[in-house]
């Protein structure tokens, strides 16, 4: 060590303060978006990839492992899983989007009504949602289904939508309660703006970013709900093909050890859910980027 080094410590250090370590900006989930787009496109145009009819039961070829003529194999009833995946995905995705549309509409209406209402009405409405939340979903679903008659994708979407809006309504209510006293809302009301006018022009643009994440999660939840219901035998029947109703064959498949009947629809299901979660999380992270003090 030279003398110069030894004495360099004394006195003012000629050193720039290290810049704080930059947090990696959260990347857009390109991979998830691509994969999801691929699955959605495949479901829309999947019919063009295969000449097979997904509902046709080829009794000569039941329970075939993947390969050859049937890229994903056939199920216990002899249906071609490859073409079932695409047409079933269409139903599953439709249910996801349609029921989210229903639940979002209800949540926006209910949440903003409760948020703008006077205290007693607000308390009443919120108590009501809590009670609704505590009725076992299974019962509501069975009840609504029996009202609607034979289960159809649109019916299931409606049932799931009607039973899954409460948490979003709560978030909207909280947001609206914070917004309702802001000057521009008060001004709009003074000038005689109606409820829907204020909702559309002043409230919705403000809470839309905070519920985007919930909307995406709602689609995911609806797809899970559909598949669970169909799997348990109270959702779509076997002959209406969706990822859930395909999985309802898996008990039989377990006995014959045909893993592909269980694994392939499930993998598509999980991949779709995962992509949606990643997209939702990316949406949410954009709001919240501060530095740790630790």
């Amino acid at each position: 060590m030279t003398d110069q080094d030894r004495f360099a410590v004394v006195g003012i250090l000629n050193e720039e303060p290290a810049p704080p370590p930059r947090r990696r900006p959260s990347r857009a989930p390109v991979l998830s978006a691509l994969l999801l787009a691929l699955i959605v496109l495949g479901c829309c145009f999947g019919g063009l990839m295969t000449a097979k009819d997904p509902a046709y039961m080829d009794l000569a070829n039941t329970n075939l492992p993947p390969g050859g003529e049937f890229p994903f194999g056939t199920d216990t009833m002899g249906r071609d899983i490859f073409s079932m995946i695409w047409s079933g995905g269409r139903v599953s995705l439709f249910i996801g989007f349609a029921s989210t549309l229903v639940s979002t509409l209800i949540a926006v209406a209910f949440g903003s009504l409760s948020g703008m209402a006077p205290g007693w009405l607000d308390a009443l409405l919120m108590r009501l949602t809590e009670i609704l939340l505590s009725v076992p979903n299974l019962l509501i679903v069975v009840f609504l289904q029996s009202l609607l008659g034979t289960p159809s994708p649109a019916g299931i979407a409606l049932v799931i939508g009607v039973t899954s809006w409460t948490s979003m309504a709560k978030v909207i209510r909280t947001e609206v309660r914070q917004l309702r006293n802001s000057d521009y809302v008060v001004a709009a009301r003074c000038m005689g703006g109606g409820f829907f006018h204020i909702l559309r022009l002043h409230l919705a643009p403000n809470f839309v970013s905070s519920i985007m994440f919930m909307v995406v999660m709602n689609i995911r939840g609806a797809i899970v709900a559909e598949s669970t219901l169909s799997f348990m035998g109270i959702g779509l029947p076997l002959d209406t093909i969706s990822w859930g109703s395909m999985l309802s064959l898996s008990e039989k498949a377990l006995m014959t050890q045909s893993w592909w009947v269980l694994l392939i629809p499930g993998l598509f299901l999980v991949a779709t859910l995962l992509c949606m979660t990643n997209l939702g999380n990316a949406l949410r992270k954009r709001v919240n980027q501060r530095h740790s003090n630790l």
């Binding site: 205290g119 108590r127 505590s134 006293n181 109270i234 999985l247």
Partner: protein
């Protein structure tokens, strides 16, 4: 003075609780009776189809299914207040007996699952927050997200495929091998897979919440002060940050009870585990009204109670929220 306001607070909560349970029971009653479907089929099975109209009339009368809805409800309520919940149409047994037979199984599964969730989610959350954005945190976050995306029933199927069908290590259904009900080891073997699913499918949701709460806490100014005073990271995290998130952790866990319960219900049906979940499913499908009523009330009361507990915990343990909740009506029009 303080005591009185406290008592009033709890009385109000109690009243709200009672009111909610009452409305819930009325709603469930109406829902289950209005749903189409023939309760006589669940009572008499095939025979119900062959009954003559007169016979039907008489049986409906005897089971009290003919009276107007509100009369039926009042009758049911009177019985319920005396502790008589009626008989199960399907099992021809007192409903409470049918439920008592299955309750321990669900409590065992749900209880152990909840305790595991309670501990593991906190540990995992702290672990991730400690290594924020480090490789460990990122790996755990990835894995957790994937795990939380797998639907419960499919996770169960997957585990059955791997451990029961292919490897043949564990039993795939039931709560015990027939004839060995008292064997603790045998029961434990039947519990492993359902427990893994119950805990696994909820774990990351809560761990992630705790991680984010902790990270938010780490961005507070007092942490900067503590660091300036020279405290170690461990002392800050365990002594101060964890205390800061304790109220939200406790209320989060209170709210998780209904979720865990819902999870056990699905898992029970996949593993044909004789618990309340399978019973609810059966009675809803076969219009076993009396059983369904009690099960729904049981579930509903638990949900309402846990939600309220969560509220009370966060309001009472954390004085900050109480102040925020005070009615603020600044420049209201």
């Amino acid at each position: 003075m303080r005591f009185r306001s406290g008592a009033a607070y709890y009385l109000k909560k109690l009243a709200a609780f009672a009111l909610s349970v009452f409305v819930l029971s009325a709603a469930v009653f109406a829902l289950s009776r209005l749903a189409p479907g023939d309760p006589l089929v669940s009572y008499y099975g095939e025979r119900a189809e062959k009954m003559s109209p007169q016979e039907r009339e008489r049986t409906m009368e005897r089971l009290g299914l003919n009276a107007p809805l509100h009369v039926q409800y009042v009758r049911w309520l009177q019985g319920a207040l005396r502790g008589e919940m009626g008989i199960s149409f399907k099992y021809k047994q007192d409903v409470l007996e049918v439920i008592a037979l299955r309750l321990p199984n669900t409590l065992l599964l749900g209880g152990i699952g909840f305790v595991l969730l309670f501990v593991l989610s906190l540990l995992l959350g702290v672990l991730c927050a400690w290594h924020e954005d480090g490789p460990l945190d990122r790996v755990v976050c990835r894995a957790g997200t994937v795990l939380s995306c797998i639907p419960e029933f499919w996770l169960s199927l997957l585990l059955i495929l791997i451990f029961c069908v292919t490897l043949k290590w564990l039993p795939s259904s039931g709560a015990y091998t027939i004839g060995r009900a008292g064997d603790v080891l045998d029961r434990a073997r039947h519990l492993i897979l359902p427990l893994v699913v119950v805990v696994g499918s909820h774990l990351w949701y809560y761990a992630y919440m705790i991680r984010n709460k902790l990270l938010e806490e780490a961005r507070a100014d007092y942490v900067l002060l503590l660091r300036a005073k020279g405290l170690r990271k461990r002392a800050i995290v365990f002594g101060h940050c964890l205390r800061g998130i304790l109220p939200s952790y406790l209320s989060l866990m209170a709210i998780s009870v209904p979720h865990v319960m819902g999870g056990t219900y699905i898992v029970e049906t996949v593993f044909s585990y004789p618990g309340l979940g399978t019973l609810t499913y059966e009675s809803a499908r076969y219009h076993d009204y009396n059983t369904l009523m009690v099960l729904c009330l049981l579930t509903g009361v638990t949900v309402i109670f846990c939600n309220m507990l969560g509220q009370v915990l966060s309001e009472r343990v954390d004085p900050r929220i109480r102040r925020e909740e005070a009615p603020v009506e600044v420049n209201a029009p």
